[in-house]
Amino acid sequence: MSESQEEMAVRQLPLGIRLKDGNTFDNYLAASNAQAVACLQAALQDPAMIYLWGGEGTGKTHLLQAACHAAAAKGRPCAYLPLACWQELDAAMLEGLENTSLVCLDDIASVAGRTGWETALFHLYNRLRDAGATLLATGPAPPAALPLALPDLRSRLAWGMVFQLHPLRDEEKLAGLQQRARARGLELPEAVGRYLLQHCPRDMGSLLAILERLDRASLAARRRLTIPFVKIVLGARPRKAARHK
């Protein structure tokens, strides 16, 4: 291999080799949330308004993006709005969304109390309903407990179907982690999975972020996932590294 070829191979490594691991219905571990998932999937056929609430790591973002993925696979336009990033967004981007078949509002509580946003969301709701489009929204609490300033918006969120997403139990988390690892072409032995569950924050978001880190590390070091290896990777945080020096 010539030097330039080698250079190219190295440069391409981080992008080319990783398997696609997007958020889909297939890789969502439904467990006790199976009914919510079934209703979401049905909403892609028959227009509906669905509100999902639950704590962190219950898969709210995952499900919304999975719905977008499924709609796009059918060639339907859709829109996903991460309202937690409202500072980078603008209520003006809600205009015209009634021309898409699916609108997903992730974490509606982020804009609660911001009257401009709330009013715009209220009107979007009405337009989507008139147009027969599907609206999926998420938040940390049921509509009645959201700190919304506009009662009109609250009552509309409660008008559709409201589901609480339940967190996974540890056994289910383990199975979920192994499933996601497999999808990435990575083998996560049960013992390693249990180690993660005993030493790391146990919400799925954090665990998946750790899995992502382990995946990269195992790829870079060309090592399989073992407890000693995981300890090295997770222990290599700046705080602990500094102590060694």
């Binding site: 336009p77 990033c85 008139d130 919400d203």
Partner: protein, 473 residues
């Protein structure tokens, strides 16, 4: 028809961008490929500008790799491909305005995008015709037959029927006010439907205040204010919803004031709804407030229990759902705020029954309510768990964190640790830390011990269940 070229482009972008970026900015784009041009349609200006700024150059690069002819072009516009939107949705009078934006082609090599403002409002839709054509926007399901009457809305309904039978008569304007989700809009549509039923040629227009304001702003921008005025001043009945949205919009109030006067002078009917009594709406001109009270002002109050039950039974019958009366009572007793929430709960119960294949009963209703009401909105923290367990076992919180290992303290500590693992997402080392700096293996041991005891010791089983209930309800 899906563009194969765009599909390839999407594959590239999906692997390169974060899921959030891809879903937020790329997914809403619709693509039309024809004659060597890929037209990307953004739903609005904001999305178009962001895409142009952050991704368009890259999109142009990717597409140029797959281009089908030499002078292949990509352009970015505001608009939507009607065929691709859900079913065209132009169902009778419901037709919402469509985007009519002028495309602005952009060469892939010369990245820039522009757009002409969309201008298609309810009153310009058919402005090419000589006669002003009015779009009714009436919902056929909202009739007096489907309106459930009770003490809370009797007067409002009686007045509405009167107006429906004799528009432009004694009760003009009719002002209906009340909280959200109590049926104001339903009554308003019911009046409109009755008027049209009695006189199919009646020019009845229903519009939400916000839409009125939006249309007016666009009319000003496009020098079409005269068409706007002509449209609204030539109706027989104007139904205008949620007029509290006129607050602090002086220009719209001014225009509405004149429309209002013209209609009343011509004995056309005006019906308004609002979330409060006219005099209490802030940011509204005095002259408007006083005029709103010229006709009849009626209120709708939250429905009482019997009405709520009747509403549930009626909604269930409309959707051919067999709803036992005890379930209707159960829901109605707990959902008091408004009718939308009642409907939402019913929908949820029905979904639950369909999914599980079980008949509708109290258990199913309980499940649905759990999701709708914040039964578990109390934030479960380790502190909270320690306090609850300490109270329950009649020991001190400091005992839970102490080094003492006597049974009377160790067992509650183990219970609290197991609950912390069950109810929070804290890592085991964090939980150990919160209990006097214990090791995570101690937490693990506690969890195993409690699990084992719950199976063998009925008292522990009961304690655990009680604590779980106290913490989560």
């Amino acid at each position: 028809m899906e563009s194969a070229l765009w599909r390839k482009c999407l594959d590239h972008l999906e692997s390169e961008l974060s899921a959030q970026q891809f879903n937020t900015w790329i997914r809403p784009l619709q693509a039309i490929e024809d004659n060597g041009t890929l037209r990307l349609l953004a739903p609005n200006r904001f999305v178009m500008e962001k895409v142009n700024e952050r991704f368009f150059q890259h999109i142009a690069e990717i597409t140029s790799r797959y281009k089908t002819c030499e002078d292949f072009r990509v352009c970015l516009e505001i608009g939507s491909n009607d065929a691709a939107s859900p079913g065209g949705k132009n169902v009778g009078e419901y037709a919402p305005p469509r985007d009519a934006s002028a495309p602005l082609a952009t060469r892939a090599s010369n990245v820039q995008a522009g757009v002409r403002n969309r201008f298609d409002t309810s009153f310009t839709r058919r402005s090419d015709r000589t006669d002003v054509q009015h779009v009714r926007n009436l919902c056929p399901d909202f009739t007096f037959e489907t309106f459930v009457e009770g003490k809370s809305n009797q007067l409002a309904k009686a007045a509405s029927v009167q107006v429906g039978e004799n528009p432009g008569g004694a009760y003009n304007p009719l002002f209906i006010y009340g909280g959200v989700g109590l049926g104001k809009t339903h009554l308003m549509h019911a009046i409109g439907n009755l008027i049209v039923q009695r006189d199919p040629r009646a020019r009845v227009v229903y519009i939400h205040s916000e839409r009125f304001v939006g249309d007016m702003v666009k009319a000003f921008q496009h020098n079409a204010i005269n068409e706007f005025k002509r449209y609204y001043r030539s109706v027989d009945s104007l139904l205008i919803d949620d007029i509290q949205f006129f607050a602090h919009k002086e220009r719209s109030q001014e225009e509405f004031f004149h429309t209002f006067n013209t209609l009343l002078e011509g004995q056309s009917q005006v019906i308004m709804t609002c979330d409060r009594y006219p005099k209490e709406v802030g940011g509204l001109e005095e002259r408007l407030k006083s005029r709103f009270g010229w006709g009849l002002t009626v209120s709708i109050d939250p429905p009482e229990l019997e009405t709520r039950v009747a509403i549930l039974m009626s909604k269930a019958a409309q959707t051919q759902v067999d709803l036992p009366e005890d379930v209707a009572f159960f829901i109605a007793q707990r959902i008091r705020s408004n009718i939308r929430e009642l409907e939402g709960t019913l929908r949820r119960v029905v979904a639950n029954a369909r999914f599980t294949g079980r008949p509708i009963n109290l258990d199913l209703a309980r499940d649905a309510l759990k999701d709708l009401i914040a039964l578990q909105d109390k934030l479960v923290t380790i502190d909270n768990i320690q306090k609850t367990v300490a109270d329950y076992c009649k020991i001190r919180i400091s005992d839970l964190k102490s080094k003492r290992r006597s049974r009377s303290v160790a067992r509650p500590r183990q219970l609290a640790m197991a609950l912390a693992k069950e109810l929070t997402n804290h890592s085991l080392p964090e939980i150990g830390e919160a209990f006097g700096g214990r090791d995570h293996t101690t937490v693990l041991h506690a969890c195993r011990k409690i699990k084992e005891l719950r199976e063998t010791d009925s008292r522990i089983k009961e304690d655990y269940a009680n604590l779980l209930r106290m913490l989560t309800t």
